[in-house]
Amino acid sequence: MGKNDPKRIPKFYHTLLFLGVRAAAIAFVFFLLFMNYRFAVDLRETNIKNMKAETGQRAALVGFFFADRKDDLINLALSREVSVFFENKALGMSMEYGLGYSLIPIRDRFRDLVKRKKLGSDAVYSRIMLIARNGEILVDTLAATDQKVNRRQLKKLLVPGYRAGEIFTLDGGREIVASLSYFFKDRYAGQIIAWIQPQTLYKNVLGAGGSSHDVYNLVTTKGKTFESVGVTFPPQISGLPNAAALISDETFEFQTLNGEKQSWIGLKTPVSNTPFSMLHLITASHAVGKINPVSLLTTMGLIAFVLLSGAAYTITLHMRAKETIKESERRLSEIIDFLPDATFAVDCEGKVITWNRTIEEMTGVKARDMLGKSNYEYSLPFYGTRRPILIDLVFEADEEIAKKYRFVERKGTILFTEASEVPLNNQNRVLSGKASPLYDNAGNVVGAIESIRDITERKQMEVEKHNLQERLQRAEKMEALGTLAGGVAHDLNNVLGVVVGYTELLLDSAAESSALRPGLVNIMKGGERAAAIVQDLLTLARRGVPTREVLNLNKVIADLQQSPEFESLSAYHPSVRIKTDLAPELLNMAGSPVHIGKTIFNLVSNASEAMAEGGVVTIKTANQYLDKPVQGYDEVQQGDYVVLSVSDTGKGISAVDLKRIFEPFYTKKVMGRSGTGLGLAVVWGTVKDHHGYINVESEEGKGSIFTLYFPVTRESLPAETTAVAVSQYMGKGESILVVDDVKEQRELASEMLRKLNYNVVGVASGEEAVEYLKEHKVDLLVLDMIMEPGMDGLDTYRNVLAIHPRQKAIIVSGFSETDRVETAQDLGAGAYVRKPYVLEKLGLAVRKELEPSA
């Protein structure tokens, strides 16, 4: 859904809706709080109101009760029995004779009232008395033995004013009494007094129907204090407020002082026609609830605040989560969109739900044109036809589909594949694919996703890498073989050095006409050829770095053609015609003419041998500039080159052999020609030593072309040199120390130098040389560079210089110049003389070092 999608609700309205809902929720909560508060207040008020009503009703009930008591007394007073007595008394009868008898019915009636008058099962009265005006107890319902009469108190009970009856207390409030003044013929005759059972009153009237939380108490007030009537205050009641300050029918609150403090609500209601009030006490928690409305409001408000805050926070978290999810989805979408791999996803119905930019670029199909499409729409850009592809295999395995790929591997739920020759954008590309199911939170498959990568270049690079690795392996193999060969060559070179050296001495000693001379010459030449072979080996070992001199290929070829070896080759292959096609203005190169000549010879030799039936070997030279690398057998870098090519029309080289032809000893030729099986290996080594490249093209049955690229040098050819007379390099008796670990070489060099009139001492190691020079001085050192074990020539020279800082020396070695040779020369050593020893070269080098100006 894009930003401009018309179905998208504008964020403003979304926010407005959200805020509106929130505000409505908050308002509703506050409304509920307020209503709850009002309800609590109303409930409290209603409870108070009910309490007042109920208390009033009870008080009225108590009033009725007492009114009923008065009525009882009035009825007693109006009774026949009482009137008979007073009638009889009025007649003057005496108690002894008849009047006393009149009291008996009164007593019986009183007793009957005491017995009969009950509330429930509880007697209302405990005692009723009739007291004469003079204080005489006329009737007492109590048995005589129970009568405890305080005469003084009795007199106080005679109150003529209680004509309608009166209720009051005696004994400090412990007794509740109803009293009625009795008048006989309008004359105060006495008092009828009834003691009311307080327990009956409290149980059946005051507290009837009340809960255990209510306390009802009749009270009188005495100043500030309440006095309980009939009973003592319940023990839990204490701390009653100032009685005088209380307003009747208005609630008051107080806290008990005893034990657990409690809040109480009380109500004082007067009992009509009595001196009493009724106290209704109830714990505040039962009266109006444990929490007052304000506290309730505050508490609920806090709770609501916390809940709302929590809800708001939760909603916020939820919205943030949603936003985060949306953001995540957006980012995921962006991530998918920016994945370097072409990625698309489908739902379970095969409808495209994601089509990222990379796949847009790969296929040229925009997301808007693909999203929502089904029916294998996604396969069209790749295969030009609607068909199931890798992503469809996620839902269901299909062998037919799998066969269309190079392979289909499954690792867990992920499918891997490669497809070659995919006609993508009119090009055959190699693509790799990876497909996986998409799951929801419940683990159900809801779709699939596939990512595709164009690996065409990578595949090409893999091929190139493979080739490079092959070349490297070949080079390493040849290096290894070369190293091996080099090691052998070193020893062989020393042997040859002796042979050639002493042969030279013998030739020098032999007369011109000596019959031995031809043989010696041949030995000499043979030795030199052997040395050349050794050089081949050394070259192979890369230790025989050729002497660097400016040369021209055309001249080398010309010289080669004049060489006996070439003549022998031509003679050995009479049916092979060797022709040259040499560039007239061929540029120069730097290197070793010997090795280049050897290389050319080996190539021509191989070419000749490839044409057993005869043919033409063409040697061609040319100047060539490469403006970009050329991939062949080698990768030829760009640059100026002189190119040498040797081609034949022979049997060609198979592709298998082509890869290995430059390996040492990989040859099919008969042993003994180039002899060692190192011909092409030497060619390879020589080309590499000259920083060149080689290419081979061959086709079986048609021939081969070996093309060698040598970097051009802009230097000029050196002038030709002539032989030097011995007198030019004879010594003058100077002392020379020959240091060589090989005894024969050491003795040969020493003999040659003695012959040249030098005083020579020979030592077998650098250490011996250093020890010798600690005690002696010499004019010149002849240092073999490679001495094993122990110090080589460079280390020896350093140590010697420590003793004799200006010690002159020349370096000799059977190997090519090395960095150590150059270092020794930098320290002050003179010429480097290559073994095998040649008298002239050795003599010239020594003479030059001893007399530099000569």
């Binding site: 003057g92 005496s94 004779y97 008898y101 009291l103």
Partner: protein
């Protein structure tokens, strides 16, 4: 059989036997029965006169209940036999007598109609000569009463009964006085005939004496305690008690002199019901106030 019964000697014999048998049976009637006889007969005959609450006339009364309970005590049936003050002793003893001061005069032999006589009978000297009384059953006083509006005023008690009686006699002196002969209300029993000659014997029931005074048929009258209490209750403010004319008297159950066992049985019975409270219950039922009025009697006569 018919020929035998027709013979004269036989007829005579039958006649004699009939007379003898009749005499035997009637002899039992003529002769007061003692305990054995009562038990043998299986019935206790109670001679009663409607008087106060002793015999209310409605079939109940204190004496009726006592006798009924006594009959059950001795295991016989109870039978009420109404009589009157003139005949009561004759009905009990078989001898009709007439008091003459403290003496009696036997007037005639009469049939015995009852085994016991109980009707609030006051124990008087002359009566003792006629019957044997049980232990006292009820206290009694005889008072002088007057109509409420009579100018005669009640005496002020002195605490001495004799002085009080004298005070009353002074009031009676020369005044018409209503009494009832041959009862405890006979003025001659108290020497009142010596202080006034205007004595009138009430011919009706003792129960009607108080109403007679109220109606003005007599100004002064004698009334015994039980009746006086009843009258005072019935007609409060109509009559007044002036004072005593006698000391304490007793009422008891009368037995024929030849029924000592029966009397002993009754005394024993009375002791028993006094002990078990039944007696008190009967007294309270009919004379509830007498316990308050004369607690001494009941205290001393347990």
């Amino acid at each position: 059989m018919e020929g035998f019964l027709q013979k004269d000697c036989v007829k005579k014999l039958v006649f004699v036997l009939t007379i003898v048998v009749t005499m035997v049976f009637t002899a039992g009637v003529l002769i007061a029965a003692d305990l054995k006889d009562v038990k043998k007969k299986g019935v206790l005959r109670h001679l009663g006169i409607p008087y106060a609450n002793f015999v209310t006339g409605a079939g109940d009364g204190m004496d009726i209940e006592l006798m009924n309970t006594f009959a059950k005590y001795i295991g016989v049936r109870y039978e009420y036999v109404p009589t009157n003050w003139k005949d009561i002793f004759g009905d009990l003893t078989g001898e009709k007598v007439k008091p003459n001061g403290d003496d009696i005069e036997v007037l005639a032999q009469v049939p015995v109609k009852g085994d016991v006589a109980a009707a609030g009978i006051t124990v008087l000297p002359w009566r003792k000569k006629v019957v044997d009384f049980s232990v006292p059953v009820f206290p009694n006083h005889v008072w002088l009463i007057a109509r409420a509006d009579s100018p005669v005023q009640p005496i002020k008690p002195t605490g001495n009964i004799k002085k009080d009686i004298e005070a009353v006699k002074k009031i009676i002196a020369g005044q018409p006085l209503l009494g009832k002969a041959e009862t405890c209300l006979d003025p001659s029993l108290y020497g009142l005939e010596k202080i006034t000659d205007k004595i009138q014997s009430f011919p009706g029931s003792v129960n009607d004496i108080a109403p007679a005074v109220i109606k003005g048929k007599a100004n002064l009258a004698l009334l015994d305690l039980p009746d006086a209490l009843v009258a005072l209750q019935k007609w409060p403010g109509k009559i007044k008690v002036i004072g005593p004319v006698s000391g304490r008297q007793y009422m008891a159950v009368a037995f024929a002199k030849d029924s000592p066992q029966l009397r002993d049985a009754f005394n024993k019975f009375l002791r028993k019901i006094k002990n078990n409270g039944a007696y008190q219950g009967i007294v309270k039922k009919y004379y509830p106030y007498v316990y308050v009025y004369d607690p001494e009697f009941f205290k001393n006569n347990k």
